[in-house]
Amino acid sequence: MIRDPKDLPRYNAAERANHWVTGICFILLALSGLAFFHPAFYPLVQLFGGGAWARIIHPYLGVILGIAFVVMFFRFWQLNLINDADREWLTRVGEMIEGNDHNMPEQGKYNAGQKMVFWSMAVCVSALVISGLLMWRAYFNFPVGIVRLAAVVHAAAATIMILVAIVHVYAAIWTKGTIRAMWYGTVTRAWAKQHHRAWYRQMTGK
């Protein structure tokens, strides 16, 4: 039974599946990648059946993530263009963090924070895919100077991407009523009215 048939559709099944493929790949990539990142994380290789398996699997997952992300990018990029209301939102992000968002500028389907997550992810994934392929010794053997640079870029981009992902996941947990949008695709009208009023107007005509 659907609790309220007037809930607003936010993501269709294809969008949700696309996001989950990306998310699962990301988690596995972060866990296997961190294992090589610093000895403190090396025990994570046990999740993958040992160091050699983690090393083998990681780049293939990276390729899947790359493809899934590109598809997702073209689904959502137009909704993530930055406008004036977003600029104001960003200057007042402190109020948001305080949990006091009543007076924040009206936001469309995505608020400026979500848009920043989207674009940072796009930059990080591009950097990770390119540098990752350059480091992939099972298939490639690029000049050592390039591989050294790629290793630095890969480690830096991975750090930033994991940081952004922590913010992304936490924001979804913090803002109650959000996670269901990625489970079964709908949100309540009250949720939309509070957090994304411009999108709420557009969806309901009110």
């Binding site: 090589f36 990142f37 090396y42 968002d101 099972a138 480690a155």
Partner: protein
Amino acid sequence: MALQSLDIKQRSATTTPAPQARQTMEIAKLIDVSACIGCKACQVACMEWNDVREEVGHNVGVYDNPTDLTENAWTVMRFTEVEENNKLEWLIRKDGCMHCSDPGCLKSCPAPGAIIQYSNGVVDFHQENCIGCGYCVTGCPFNVPRISKKDNKAYKCTLCSDRLAVNQAPACVKACPTGAIEFGSKEDMKDYAGKRIADLKERGYDKAGLYDPPGVGGTHVMYVLHHADRPGLYAGLPENPSISPLVSLWKGATKPLATFALGLAALGSLFHYVIKGPNEVAREIEEEIEKEDAS
């Protein structure tokens, strides 16, 4: 080489002190390029002792055979023809792991215990811990380690660590017919090199010298070169090798700092929730919607 006693100096991807109950004397292999005749007895002895065989390749018009280090060829002779003082000189350098005091391979390796530096200076790969990522290749300033196509493990010269453990000199040293490869304590090898260099200088090679590059803290394989001012002549031996700044950046303080930042973000989120509470949909807005529905 898995069997070992406790004379260890460094262990890859390990942040606590390595077992180092016993400290041994630093050793070195001295390769006197001026006395090498290029017979490759050392290459044969290496393959024989270590029981590895490179596939028979093709003649590419030079004496180098095999043409490069491989997972099965841990040492190769590199032949270079140069003209010096209107004379043809045939420079022959036995290439292989230099056993750096500050090894870029070990610094880069993410697998605990896959690379060990013994206190005698030998840098040894322990294939049973190797995961095959190739970071050692990225870290090495001398382009030495090779990843096997068969098992994806990294291989290179062990300096015959198994022979050293039972007081035997490396196989290549034993096989050299001209005494161009000597082995002993690093100090003795430097003394011996001094004599060879004095001799070379007397014979007109006034730039003769020892190759023990300080950029990697010195090496445990050293060369006597007739043209020590231009190591590049010898098939591109690096002039002043050191661990690349990019590798130091990649493996340096940035890693603990990044780890700290990740921990901070995770804990920061947790405590934000605990301190500020969740961002819920206001009761007021829910009532507005209910009212609209009722009307």
